[in-house]
């Protein structure tokens, strides 16, 4: 089991997680946080593969009422699977600021989600290789 990594790595990882929150309405900026072959599973279990596809899906989502769903990300745990591979556990706090008419009355959004990231270090930069969110049942 390899867990050697330094504080600088942890800080860099915290910064990437903070960026996912800061760039949630910026598809171009968000895409720069991702590896080329990233895999992402969103709240609804939808899987998007590849940075270009995530970029496109995000740009499209920002054209819809989902642009008014905001998230805050609370980091709860970082553990290193390898010196250059980190498993990062977060809680996502969701605030749904869509117009009432745009909300799906049958499927209200959960207020919190458990989000897991795998980050890898590529040429000195920590990038998101994988992200998956599971709504937390109330």
């Amino acid at each position: 089991m390899t867990t050697v990594a330094n504080d600088q790595d942890v800080e860099a990882i915290r910064a990437v997680v903070a960026d996912t929150e800061a760039l949630q309405s910026d598809a171009d900026g968000f895409a720069r946080l991702l590896t080329e072959d990233v895999a992402l599973v969103n709240f609804g279990g939808r899987r998007v593969l590849g940075r270009d596809n995530v970029h496109r899906a995000m740009r499209e989502a920002l054209e819809t009422p989902f642009a008014h769903v905001y998230t805050k990300t609370e980091l709860v745990d970082v553990r290193f699977l390898r010196p250059d591979v980190a498993l990062v556990s977060c809680i996502k706090h969701i605030s749904d600021e869509r117009e009432p008419a745009a909300r799906d009355a049958n499927a209200p959004l959960s207020e919190r989600g458990s989000q897991t990231f795998v980050l890898v270090r590529e040429q000195g930069n920590w990038l998101i290789a994988l992200a998956q969110t599971t709504p937390i049942a109330v």
């Binding site: 609804g44 279990g45 899987r47 795998v118 998956q132 599971t134």
Partner: protein, 141 residues
């Protein structure tokens, strides 16, 4: 290193090894064997349940599994099929699994949501071990 850097033959061998781990997961679930299930995990593994609850370490995963697995397959069960393997390193892989609810005699159950579990596996001493697992229910769109 990207997934492309793992050569085709090595990839095929590793994917087969990973599929065997998923087959054991399926066997443990279908036959309600908590110890077989938990024994697959790395000791420091994190498991996120389908309800978003986090279990940290094999002991917590074991306590939960012993609580929920026995009796869970009385009326229906599930099949686990490897859908996608992403090697983030030659010895670290993200494994997406398609979890389909089926009847006890293996027929698909209409109208029940599939699961989309993800396992992060690391190869330790030659053996692939889940170090993180998470399930997200696939909503109909």
């Amino acid at each position: 290193m990207r997934s492309a850097d793992v050569d085709v033959q090595t990839r095929a061998v590793e994917i087969e090894a990973i599929k065997r781990v998923v087959a054991t997961l399926e066997h443990a679930q279908q036959n309600e064997l908590p110890d077989e299930f938990v024994g697959l995990f790395r000791p420091d593994a994190i498991w996120t349940t389908a309800h978003g609850r986090r279990l940290i370490g094999r002991d917590e995963i074991a306590a939960f599994t012993h609580q929920v697995l026995p009796g869970a397959m009385k009326e229906s069960t599930a099949t686990y099929e490897v859908a996608h393997v992403l090697f983030v390193r030659p010895d670290v892989a993200a494994v997406k699994v398609r979890q389909r609810p089926v009847t006890l005699d293996g027929r698909p159950i209409e109208g029940e949501s599939e699961g989309s579990p993800l396992y992060i596996m690391a190869k330790e001493h030659g053996q692939w071990q889940p170090v993180a697992g998470q399930n997200t229910v696939v909503l109909d769109t």
